[in-house]
Symmetry: C2
Subunit: 494 residues, 2 copies
């Protein structure tokens, strides 16, 4: 077994270390030379591209168009929306100068003090401010609405403690920003985009999620409502995987975006924003993978099927090349992403371990004897089951199997999620059990005091008021003993 | 005719103003609130996405994989490669702080002086330095080579004079960075990628280009050779549209990227880098468009065919909707990007002018009488020719016509280019004629002195030593009178 694989820490020993090692060993990403930033390596980026492409198609089907706004934001924009600045303006990268010059006292370059900006510029932590300052020029009448824009870009938040994909200072994301003539339409759009996220997570990433609405404390800075999808990692912790915000008229008002409505009256435009980021990579990795490495749902896997020949002589190899090259072509013709790996600088055992580590869903292996006997060995990554099959008909079998693996990976994660949602009305019980992970469905009185108490006692937070859970007679708040307003999901989180 | 269109300055009156107005009126881009930066609007971004997608596919076919490196670069990296710092480290956005705080003396936020970075960070003007500092960790043996990476990202160069798409402080681009075991392989890769650019420009963007190699003065900072594609705008000026650099071992040496070669000896890795940017949008717009607005090659047009119904009664409209909705579906089934525009808040005349301005290659119009008579009106944007055709068979006709338009647009630009390349051996003649535009093929003695003289006298620069032009007996340098080393193309440029 290859060295890299042997070294992977087991989940049961240290889940957190397992994740950190896996990201690096599977060639997904690594720490960059700039503190808190990451290099996304080719294999990791190929997965991200599949996420991007799938989401982008879904956004466009709802009428959204892509745009690009500048990465630098004038400092003064940030303080226009009062709540927004509280949430975002603090830990930012600040550009103060626009020129370097040769060091007069020695080697290298220094900042040219003459080239100081009149107003500092901030690298966008999110783009509501700059986008709404532009929407002012685009929106005058109800006929100009809705505006449905999205951008794929990098953003920067100066995080103190970072982890690859989960929390980095710079990350890649998409941010959708829509403007509407009515409150109803904006609220509907915010929920619609949450639905797009949830559907994509479940159908494509095999990632079951809980949809819901955030408590006031956990809302996006400047939002009236923040909708969220929450996924459960294998340690029972929550990972907020995407959010969609109904922003009311806060940004319309702050940036003076007024329009003439159908009744010929002036009103402020209604806003939403919604985003998912490279954090989704973290969710994908942590939800499905095992002690042997990544497990990728076929719909996301850059390589769905790897084919490896086993040979001793070059004669064997050339016959296998012919047969397996043909097989690869047949699979490709069916839309399968295949890699035929006949590289002779690595032993088969190394290749097996490496593709396992990288989560390739199906591995096909053929040796000289298989060729004579018309057989082929198949291993599926999700269950690690191996079987020897007739080579004839293998294409149909593999195509069907990829669907089966996709379903199986989803079902497994869904079962895990369902089995780790616990109704709980007793605070002592909650405090004991929440350490072991899981989502706790608890009655909450709706006050920030109770919420803060829970966090202080247990580090757990209210993840959301989940959709699809009855809110009738929610019972008694387990902390305050007061009548509850909602049943909420509480968990520790990433 | 719609107001926007009437206002477009004619090319013959002021080519430069025509361009600036067209970019804004056709809804491609606009000035951002941050000096020198742009907002790329949905229609402009849709074109950029088609450029990206087409190039990305071609890169991947040559074995290139996408990655992502951080946008911030430690200041000290820039001075590692001596020539590179001269060319790039000067006009940069410099991040000096990482936090804002509430203004103690009033409203808004101020930079927190406590949050000063130990080492300043630069927003990447290009990423050779940070990428090669990482390649050091990836490359140890010839078996690790070649490394073939590309990233699509934003970069920043603090430009003093900016124009939308042509030169902006922040722009979008791709930058490929490859590492190789031998000089030959790296040189071959640099030329290969130039070929990819040229082929894409000609086949997809209908943009004829001259390929060649830059003079030492015009080389990329840190390169041994810079290959270029030069396009000719309608005013006869050159637009450098893509470059590919053979970097030798300069970055390998500067960042200590050594590998064990097949003979078990240590050597520095050989490098290339290559990029095209949103500048290509400028080339596309300026090459093909006319006094009525954009002219887009069908392969790049976000909308290839627009269909507009003409109706008086809602009865007419519903019959036209049925027939034209079907036509749109048939065209889509053939892979054509169609828009059926039956919006009733705009008059047909406005729609016609607007789609003309936006360069939609084919317009189909049907009225109630056409419906009865089985006819349809077709206008092609490139020639503005209108004809009435039988509606039956229109799908086949349009599919064929799109190819014809693509060819025609290319041929027109190619003829213009060919007719504006002038062999010239006489400096007085050159000085007089170069003002009127065109590429001048002139003998050059290869000295930077002559090159500087030409620039000082005429603002024209040596664009390249063109490929495919005989360099035998290049004659006598027209400035110095010394024996020439090359025949070079000289022109004014953007």
């Amino acid at each position: 077994m290859a060295k890299e694989l042997k070294d992977l820490t087991k989940r049961s020993v240290d889940y957190s270390r397992w994740y950190n090692e896996l990201v690096v060993k599977a060639d997904l990403a690594e720490q960059a030379d700039v503190r808190g930033c990451m290099v996304i390596k080719p294999y990791g980026y190929a997965i991200w591209e599949r996420l991007q492409q799938g989401l982008d198609e879904r956004f466009k089907r709802t009428g959204v168009q892509n745009v690009y706004f500048p990465m630098l934001i004038p400092k003064s924009f940030l303080s226009r929306e009062a709540e927004h600045v509280e949430g975002f303006a603090k830990e930012c990268a600040v550009v103060t100068h626009y020129r370097l010059k040769g060091n007069p006292d020695g080697d290298g370059v220094v900042v040219d003090p003459e080239a100081k900006l009149e107003e500092e510029l901030i690298i966008r932590p999110t783009s509501e401010t700059t986008i709404w300052n532009t929407y002012k020029k685009w929106i005058h009448s109800w006929r100009d609405l809705p505006v449905l824009c999205n951008q794929w870009c990098n953003v920067m938040r100066w995080e103190m403690r970072t982890r690859l994909f989960l929390r980095t200072s710079e990350f890649l994301w998409q941010e959708g920003h829509t403007a509407h003539a009515t409150r109803e339409e904006a609220e509907e759009r915010a929920r619609q985009m949450l639905g797009v996220y949830a559907d994509f997570a479940e159908k494509v990433m095999a990632l079951p999620v809980v949809q819901g609405v955030k408590s006031e404390t956990e809302r996006f800075a400047g939002a009236l409502d923040t909708y969220t999808i929450e996924a459960m990692m294998q340690d029972g912790k929550a990972l907020q995987s995407g959010t969609s915000h109904f922003l009311g008229q806060n940004f319309g008002r702050a940036f003076g975006v007024q329009f003439v409505d159908k009744e010929n009256k002036l009103d402020y435009a209604w806003a939403t924003s919604w985003g998912v980021s490279t954090r989704l990579m973290g969710a994908l990795i942590m939800t499905h993978s095992d002690d042997n490495g990544l497990v990728l749902p076929p719909k996301i896997a850059p390589i769905q099927v790897v084919i490896v020949p086993i040979y001793k002589t070059s004669d064997d190899l050339s016959r296998l090349d012919e047969r397996l090259g043909q097989l690869a072509a047949e699979l490709e013709a069916r839309g399968v992403r295949v890699k035929y790996d006949n590289a002779d600088n690595k032993r088969p055992g190394f290749k097996f371990a490496d593709y396992e580590l990288k989560g390739v869903p199906v591995r096909l292996v053929m040796g000289a004897r298989d060729l004579e006997e018309g057989t082929i060995e198949l291993m599926r990554r999700d269950t690690l089951e191996k079987e020897t099959l007739k080579a004839e008909g293998i294409v149909d079998h593999v195509v069907g199997l990829l669907d089966e693996i996709q379903d199986n990976i989803y079902r497994k994660a869904k079962t895990f999620l369902d089995e780790h949602i616990f109704p709980c009305n007793d605070y002592e019980e909650f405090k004991t059990r929440v350490k072991d992970g899981g989502f706790f469905l608890c009655p909450w009185d709706g006050t920030t005091e109770t919420e803060a108490q829970i966090k202080a006692d247990t580090q757990a937070t209210i993840r959301c008021v989940p959709f699809g859970v009855s809110q009738e007679n929610p019972g008694t708040d387990m902390v305050s003993g007061k009548p509850a307003k909602y049943r909420v999901l509480i968990a520790r989180s990433y």
